[in-house]
Symmetry: C2
Subunit: 302 residues, 2 copies
């Protein structure tokens, strides 16, 4: 099989997970890593991969697709450029609702121009969990779905705390509080410029935290609380036809960046099979996200 | 919205579940029920539906699709006839592997001829569980998936026991024995023509039971053990990239015929959107199985 050459854009935790997943796949090849700073001739490596690091994707040979592994709002201009030049992309756009729909519409235009495809919001949530939420409603159309995250580190919340004056470093843990509600546990390392009580009060008033019960702890070393593990439980109790008490549950205990990178690889596989456009995971068939031939897959897994 | 008129073929438990699900849907209308025996002008009803019962589908007006709610091997000739005449179908073909692939290939030919579509194996397993098994491998491509059924009544196994001489009635319950293995508990009502020990020994030697540990109980009234509830737990422990210990689980506690009928309705919705052909659920996008407009769905559920 001719492997499709793919670039990883961004080399944080998710970028490393994506590189690892690409290298472990039978149908893709890691063409290289695009990062803000790279020395000429620099190479980077992980447990099962080794690749050139460059600052511009056109420094890499024959790239057919790119996994966008960074904050989508920062990477969005580059996504448009890539799509217009015929390079398909996958991202993990992490907002729901209106912004997600607008992002889809906007990328679709560039994808049509460049005859390429974008798969957006293709992490674990939004992403795999979105497919689950759809499936739950297919099985039991009336009822309520509860998505319960954690325990696990929230990157967005951690970054928000680090921006507060007086904070040297911070980690925010999401704790499930039952039926879709969450608590936050924030571990902060102070820089000594402000008292803990002021920092704590600022955190609790931050838009990221204001709606949730939030405990703040001062610690000597935040890195001791960091752990890439995360999880989710999605529960639905609903009715099929008029028959109630259908009890459905999805549960994951996962290494966040590894699973995110792996789902992006599956999303890319399906995206490359679609007509030019921008897609969320619920618009793609799961069979298209796997490398096996359809006949083998139907015989083995259905 | 113009509702699509759909016939239910077969009025056993699944047929009643399918009628109930169609009647509860915003986009379909139950055109009628096709059954082996029906009096002229007969009408049948359920909690939220009421429809004519006929022996031949062409006695119903304007039928665009049919849900095949009976043993697929019996209904297969009729599926071909319907597909060739332009009526799309959904079935719950319940064999895996080679027979499933052959069934797909065979129906696809008729569907192409009649510009119609077939969605096959569209119950909960194969069906919804198949989508889950695919998703589990997308998230963690290496590892092992265990599908654990029950506790719940197995129709196939119950029918097999009823065919054994000396048995007046029987129910076979599937019990999960862990990591994909199952035990069977068979409740039999004897007709008095043979001793219990002989019947028990025949059951245990039957191809349906020979591989599983099977307990057989003599009871006065089998119907007391009957319950339409069923369940499944699908577990996967696998690796994303090279990172192990990804723990994934899907669990359902369901009313078997209601959920089966409901999934068939979702499958039909997606089948009607596809090019002529025959499809399993893993080849369809979950978004296409729901009645909502894509924009609303993306904003609400992704």
């Amino acid at each position: 099989m001719q492997r499709t050459r793919v670039a990883v854009v961004g080399l944080g935790n998710v970028g490393r997970g994506a590189a690892e997943a690409l290298a472990a796949s039978p149908d893709f090849e890691l063409a290289g890593v695009v990062r803000r700073r790279a020395e000429p001739g620099e190479r980077v490596a992980g447990p099962n991969w080794e690749a050139p690091a460059v600052t511009r994707i056109d420094e890499l040979d024959e790239v057919h697709a790119a996994l966008m592994c960074g904050p989508t709002r920062e990477l969005e201009p580059m996504e448009h450029t890539l799509l217009r030049s015929g390079i398909s992309v996958v991202d993990t756009f992490d907002m729901h609702g209106e912004p997600l729909w607008n992002h889809k519409q906007s990328l679709a235009a560039s994808a049509l121009e460049g005859h390429s495809s974008a798969v957006i919001a293709a992490g674990w949530d939004p992403g795999a969990d979105s497919v689950i939420r759809a499936l739950l409603e297919i099985i039991a159309p009336t009822g309520i779905t509860y998505t319960n995250f954690g325990p696990g580190m929230s990157m967005g919340h951690s970054v928000a705390v680090r921006a507060i004056p007086g904070v040297a470093d911070a980690v925010s843990i999401t704790l499930p509080a039952g039926y879709g509600r969450h608590r936050r546990a924030v571990y902060v390392e102070l820089d000594g410029s402000r008292p803990f009580a002021d920092v704590k009060s600022d955190i609790r008033r931050d838009p990221y935290f204001v709606r949730d019960e939030t405990d703040v702890f001062e610690v000597d070393c935040v890195s001791q609380a960091a752990d890439p593990g995360h999880g989710v439980v999605i529960d639905r109790k609903g009715a099929s036809g008029r028959t109630g008490n259908q009890l459905l549950r999805w549960e994951m205990r996962i290494t966040n960046p590894s699973v995110t990178g792996q789902i992006m690889v599956g999303a890319l596989r399906a995206g490359l099979k679609k007509a030019p456009g921008a897609y969320t995971l619920i618009e793609l068939a799961v069979a298209d996200m796997l490398p096996e031939a359809l006949e083998d897959l139907v015989k083995r897994i259905v």
